[in-house]
Each structure stands twice: as C-alpha cells, then as structure tokens.
Symmetry: C2
Subunit: 351 residues, 2 copies
Amino acid sequence: MLNKLPIPIIQAPMVGASSFEMALAVSKAGGLGSFGAGAMAPADIEAEVRRFRTASDRPFGVNLFVLEAATPAAAEVDAAIERLRPWYEGLGIDPPAPPNDFAPDFQAQFAALLRAAPPLASFTFERLRREQVEALRAAGTYVVGTATTVAEAKAWAEIGADAISAQGAEAGGHRGSFLASVEASLIGTFALVSTIRQAMDLPVIAAGGIMDGRGVAAALALGAVAAQMGTAFLLSDQTGISATWRGGLERAGDDPTRLTRALTGRYARGIENRYMTTMRPVEGEVPAYPVQNRLTQPLRAAGAKAGDPDVLSLWAGQAVKLAGPGDAGELVKRWWAEAKAVAKELADRLA
Amino acid sequence: MLNKLPIPIIQAPMVGASSFEMALAVSKAGGLGSFGAGAMAPADIEAEVRRFRTASDRPFGVNLFVLEAATPAAAEVDAAIERLRPWYEGLGIDPPAPPNDFAPDFQAQFAALLRAAPPLASFTFERLRREQVEALRAAGTYVVGTATTVAEAKAWAEIGADAISAQGAEAGGHRGSFLASVEASLIGTFALVSTIRQAMDLPVIAAGGIMDGRGVAAALALGAVAAQMGTAFLLSDQTGISATWRGGLERAGDDPTRLTRALTGRYARGIENRYMTTMRPVEGEVPAYPVQNRLTQPLRAAGAKAGDPDVLSLWAGQAVKLAGPGDAGELVKRWWAEAKAVAKELADRLA
C-alpha cells in the first residue's frame, strides 16, 4: 500500500488544523491525504469518505482517537470549570455549563469507519482490539497504529497492524503514548524509527520534525517507508487553522514549543503561550481527555475570534519555524523534488 | 576542517566511556576521534594530545566541560553525603568524607588545551568567553560549541565558534543545555539540525540517535556536515566502559533510557536502573555538577567492581539497542560503506 504511493509523503491527520481540501490536494499530488476524524460524528465520517471518493480515486487515510467513553464525576467537572473561570472571564464570557457528553462515541465512529472502509485508517491514543483490526483488514482497509515507543509498536504488531506510525518526540499535537508515561515516551524520530525497524519487519512511517525535502530524504534513508508531515502544512493554502493561530505561529521565537496537559487533559506539543505557562503547575490535576478538551473548546473558540493566541492550543512540532506558505499539493511536489535532489547530491558526493 | 574528513563521522567524546585507543582507531579509519577530557588534569590533556600526535597525523578533537569552580556550602555537601549513605552501605562501604575539590579547574584545563592546540576542540555545559574562542582559533584549533536549542547555537555563533554540535534529545550522557530548562531543551535531532541550519550558516554536526550507516546518511541528507556517534561505540573493542556497565547495556529492554539529575547533579541520559528510579523524587535537591558527580564517583566505582549495574551511570542514547561489537575503526568504515550504499539505493529509487 504505502510503497505504491507515487510520493511517500503522508499528510498528518490534524484535528482542527487539516482540512478536506488539504487531504484532497495532497492525495491528488501523489501523496496520501488524511482526515483527522477524531472529533467527527459517525455520519460525518462516512459522508467525508464518500465526498473524497467522488472527488478523487487516489488513496487517503482516516485517523481516529481510540477512546473509552468519558464518565467523569460531576464534582470533577465542576472543579475543572471553576479552574477555567478566570480564563473565560478574561475574554468577557461565562464558562460552559457541565456538558452532557464530551466526545463522539468511539465505538460508533469505528462502526462508521468500517462501513466507509477507507484505503487507510490510523489510530492513536489507545490500541484497537484484535477483532477490530481484523474487521478493518477484511474490509480492505490498511491499518496503521501510532507508536511512541518500541513497546507500543510491538503491541500494535501483536494484533496484526499493517504498519506503524512512529511518532517521534518532535511531533506537534497530541502524544499517542498509551503504555508508559509521557516522560518515558519522548523518543526522538531518529532513535524511534531506527529502534522500531530493528525490532520488527512492519513498514514504519516516520513522523516528527520532518519539514521539507531534506527531512523526507532523511526519513527514507533511515529506512522509513514514508514521511508523515503535519506542522509543515500549517501555513499552506488549505490550512484549517484560524488567523489567530496562524498569527501565533508566525510570531513564534526560537525553540517555541512545549508539551502541555492543561489544554485537553492529554499531553500535546504546541507553541508555548500564556495559558500553557500559567497552567503548568496544575496541569496534572485537570481531568483526562476528552473532558478537559471539551471544557476548553469554547475558550479556544472565543480566543480565536477575539484574536488572542494566548488561550489557544497552538499545536505545532519542534521544527515549526520551517513551516512556509503554498498550495498543499504544490508543497508535496516541491518537497519530493527536493528529496530527489538531496538523494542524488548525496549519492554523488559519497560515490 | 570537517568537510575535509575522509569519513564525516565524529566519535563523540565520552568521559568514562571512550578511550585513547578508540579515538586513535576512529581517526586512523578516516573519521574524527575525540577525547572526553572533562575529568582530566591539565597536564594529562597535554600529554594525551602529544601521545596522539606521536601515534598519528590524523585530525582529532578534545572536549571540555565549561565549568565554574564549585564552592558548595559544607552543609549541602554533608546532606548530599547522608542522602547517599544507604547506597554506599548497600555495597558494604562507607560514603566518602567531604572532598577538598570536586573537579579539575576549568581555567587550568583550558590553558593546557590552548598550549596543546589540538586540531579541534569542543565544549559543553556552558559557553566559552569570546576571547577564549579567539585564542583557540589563533592557535589553529577549530572551535565547536554544543547546542541543544537554536538559542544556544546562536549564542555560540555570536562569539565566533566555527561549528555547532547539535545535541538532539536522543543523545546519551550529559545534556549540554545552558540557556533554558532541560524540559525546554529536549529537541529531537531531526528538528534540531533542521532549525539550527535554518537559523545560521555555520556547519552543523548532528548528534543523537545515530547508530549506523542509515543514520549517517540521514544526518547528511538533513544537511549536517558530519554525524557524531557515541552510544554506537559503547560495545566496540576500544570501549572504556566496565564489564558491569556493558552487562547493564546488553540486558537493556525496549526503550530503556531516561534522564536523571540524581547521579551527577546535571541532567544526563542513561539506561534506567534502581538508583535512577529510587532517587527520581529527590533528584532536584542534589547539589549541582560537579559536586554530586564527585560524591557518587566512589559509589559507581564500587558498583562496577561489585558487578552491580544498579548504582552505575549507564549513560546511553535512546537507540542504544542498535549498539554492536567490533573494532571502532572497522565500525566507522562499515557505517560509511552502509551510508554510501543507502545514498546510492535512495538516489536510484527516487530517480
């Protein structure tokens, strides 16, 4: 599947940052576009897959967050809302009332995905059950499990995943770690790709810190079957990010990213802002994803509207300063041309 | 300097793990061998440089730890010794008396280095003064500054360093961070090399997670002028590590490394052992390097002798599982042949 792509570049699924148009442009260019469907209603997943197939016969991927249903105690939700009150009030609005639900039901999302049977499906946060992997494969879907450690890659291999998406420590957005603590699971892309390859024969997708054709060539040299790029598309024409997010990103200084648990209840990497620094001392106390995520959604939406990047989730990888503008499809073609030139130059130099 | 190396592989200076013979073998093979001279007496630095020059006319490097003189309060030293008492007693020995000095005097080491004028000198922990960089360059020494962030790379560029050693988060041993916290300075090799290259024109050495010819090819594809490898030499014939350390390394499981401050008073990456896990809750309280380092030296020496890896500093990078045996010079030649083959294969595939 992956080694048949004309261009072995996967556009990373990024909830709230990628878009239908981005995925379409990348797939049409010869790469593999992806939907970040973690926040989508089941019916929308099927509709988006149909819409893509109407627009193109190229392969594409759909990503889901593997999640248990959230059943937080009312007191925990109330406390979390109170903790957020100053941030809401800072924008002149009231914090939300305790919501009735916190995220789309994963089992329903999965059933919709199975019916839609996209060419590729990838999963993060937790691991599927073996029967789910088998059902997807029987439906003709190529199954990719996200791993941040060798142990997680082995866990996915064990239940029959087709490939591993190796999420290096550099990567922006949510960490996919599900076996060990986040501190024990921050393995740089160089080491993660190399050690997973050593441990198994499954194809490995390199993700984290890859921003241009040099990065693509480096990932392939390491032995990855494809390079997954997310942050590199954040400033593309098809970006799904708000103008406020874009502003925060364009103004970022050197080494701008940090991990935070305070925005969603799950560790994620983004450009450090006032919310992240202020909330760091209590980030261990906020409710786990998806509860905190749901409770900060109206805050982030209001911040985006008000032009205040300091209350947003400015998800971005460690090499975000290399992100640049352009049509997503043209970026893919340009990176691929660069990767070819780098490979040729390197081979000539080393000959 | 670096782009004239027959093989652009630098053997990382590793105090306690590299050796004179390792450096000599690497340089003779066409790479660049290094001395980890951070713990050497000034006279020994000059003697080792002379000894190398007698043995070979190949280039080599010397690495120093840039350190202020340590002047801890007696009470802090006493408390640190008491904290270590159970570990010493576990090996059946008494903890050390408060030492008179904690590390070789850096200014004296630097003066010796300047007199010895090796072809290359690299520095970590803190930054030199501009006059020191100028004096080394006037003596014909190529000056390399270690950076774990773009900001640190800029700081070295500002005072005239010739090149930057980009120490990615993957790297084993001590972190070279000197501007921001360790958490803010754990940037994966992919991202670190890319962002430093974007920020300046100085040659960048890639370090962290590079274990074989694929890694060397990937580092060069990213635009690094050379690949620095340390962990990859730990099991070589010329290793300086003890049999106990080697045992700890050979028995390591998946994803075995963590950062610790508890062994030396400065964050460093090694294979997690009982000392690291037990001391983690108090690692923020131990005296800063070199004080804690000096106080645990007899413990680690005794542990090595007793065959107990659980009290050692098992420094290693995140991809340590790829380390293998062999003559250090032959390893360099093998990795270079692999890198060439990878580059050719990649260029052919992408053509």
